[in-house]
Amino acid sequence: MDLYEHQAKRLLSAYGIPVPISEVAETVDAAGQAARRLGCTGFVVKAQILAGDRMSAGGIRFASTPVEVETAARALLGNELVTSQTGPNAARVKAVQIEEQVIARRMLYLAITIDPLSGEVVMLASAKGGDDIETRARGDSLLIQRLPLRLDGARLTGDFAAFARSIESDPRIAEGVAVVMQNRAAAFVASDATLTEINPLAVTESGHLVALDAKVTIDDNALFRRGDLARFKSAAIAPDRDELEAQEHQLNYLKLDGSIGCVVNGAGLALATIDLLADAGGRPANFMDIRTTASSLDIAHGFGLILANPQVRAILVNVHGGGMQRCDTIAEGIAVAMRRSARRVPLVIRFAGNNAAYAATVLKNSGIAYTSANDMAEAARIAALAARKEAA
């Protein structure tokens, strides 16, 4: 679960990390009122989306009066932003954060994340924070310092004082950086985060440290023991209603912009199916991975989502029945969904593995017409051709 900037800052500030004063607004009027309440001499109005690199996409604007804040909010609210990190789908701005403008004399970078290869929690830090840090790091291997941390009971430990001195030469400020590092480590464990990033951590003219932007990702698998963070989930603006609904039905579903609905069990097989489809000149309308725990009614729900998508011209089912998810369970789900919907598009099915033959019988007995394919490459070719014919 990714947190919005304002949520991330609220979380970090609870662990003693200094952030600028701010408010969140969802309307232009509310933005103006917030600016009047804050009464700052300079404001930053920031689009709240779940991706970084907002500055170059125009998602961060500066204002010196409440009226200018309203103008900035009007330009952002309800509009879409595409940044280098949103992927191809733009993010719609549903809220803005109005924040006191803080002038940074210098900008540091501070992150904690998990290195999958070493299996460790690592702290990353740099004396030169800022937006293009990733590009700069590619050309300069010394730009980012790295400190592996040790998980000791409920504490993440490491030599923060020495690590802070490695990125900050002013000993008084380095002391402050070490405290921020320590607090960040505490916040990371206590919230079961997989990522916390402060970029930049500003050093002000007076030598104070302020986190100007923050990103936090919480481990979804740990939400069962982080009831206090679950409130962020309901507050977070869902990426897509269908996707959330599918989650509740044991399906990983992601809407794409093509014309071929895909029904596959297993994430790897689903990726491989999309590859074959693209090779055959087809474009997937969605990614779907049926989890092993999905029942036939869950599957019926997922199949229904695809039938209800007006862009879909053909449906490709590629199922390899495994130890838990057998082909016939999926066939039953398809049959239920077809009974519920009047929509008919060409259906191409490839069943293999556990109960493949029985699944074909289930569909036949339900009177469902489909083209059967022997292997997944053939299935992809037929589906791509069928979608092109339907569109013509």
Partner: protein, 290 residues
Amino acid sequence: MAILVTPETKVMCQGLTGRTATFHCGRMLSYGTRLVAGVVPGKGGRTHLDLPVYASVGEAKGATGASASLVFVPPQHAAAAMIEAIEAELELIVCVTERVPVLDMVRVRQALAGSKTRLVGPNSQGVLAPGLGQLGVMATVDARKGRIGIASRSASLTSEVVLQTTNAGLGQSTTVGVGGDPVHGLSLPEALELFLDDPDTDGIIVIGEIGGSEEEAVADVIQRRKPKKPVVALVAGRHAPPERRMGHAGALATRGAGSATQKIAALERAGVHIAHDASRVGQTMRDALS
């Protein structure tokens, strides 16, 4: 023979009495796996599936001589179960549990460091050695005893490739799912090395996908060891849509690995036979062997 398991390997199941564990352990027994005990805290002294149930891993090991454990414990308690098995010095742990919190896995990795235990998983379909035994939840209908080793990040693609290697008349020595979680035990390159050292494996298939950097690490192992056995790789996700990202730390921590194209290029440079798509893996291996 196979990797990770031998005909002598005796297996216990942590969490044996659960519904899913009961289902799969029944399948494992009928497949001929030497499953000899269950471990369920608070249920010591009972019998389940005609197997004795013990309260701890240590007791089960002492009483039965089991050296491997299959962990079927719910995610909240999975890390504690794995750490218990590591502390009891079992040789092999296979964890199939999905959705284990990642910080719990960091703790498990700390416990593994310097131990005598090898961990496969979590979120793994397990280890299958056709003719020898099954530790996991995979289908076995299409598996045949043979001389191809399969190391995979994807359970569903493993089933697919097992079918293709069987149809190609090759069969499998062992299949290993390293699991779908970011922090896990046995890695793809480690599994590859086990197969390289196994005299009963003639060819190795590595199934990777986008994300992480284990396929790049596989390429490094092959560059270093220059194996005589053919290695075939499939990397799924060439046409996956780019993902939304949060910040820079992920890319900075892993030094920017991850796309299917990058992985395929690294593997190709190392001399791996690339299966262009998932339908051609068996054929690619047969061609590489001839």
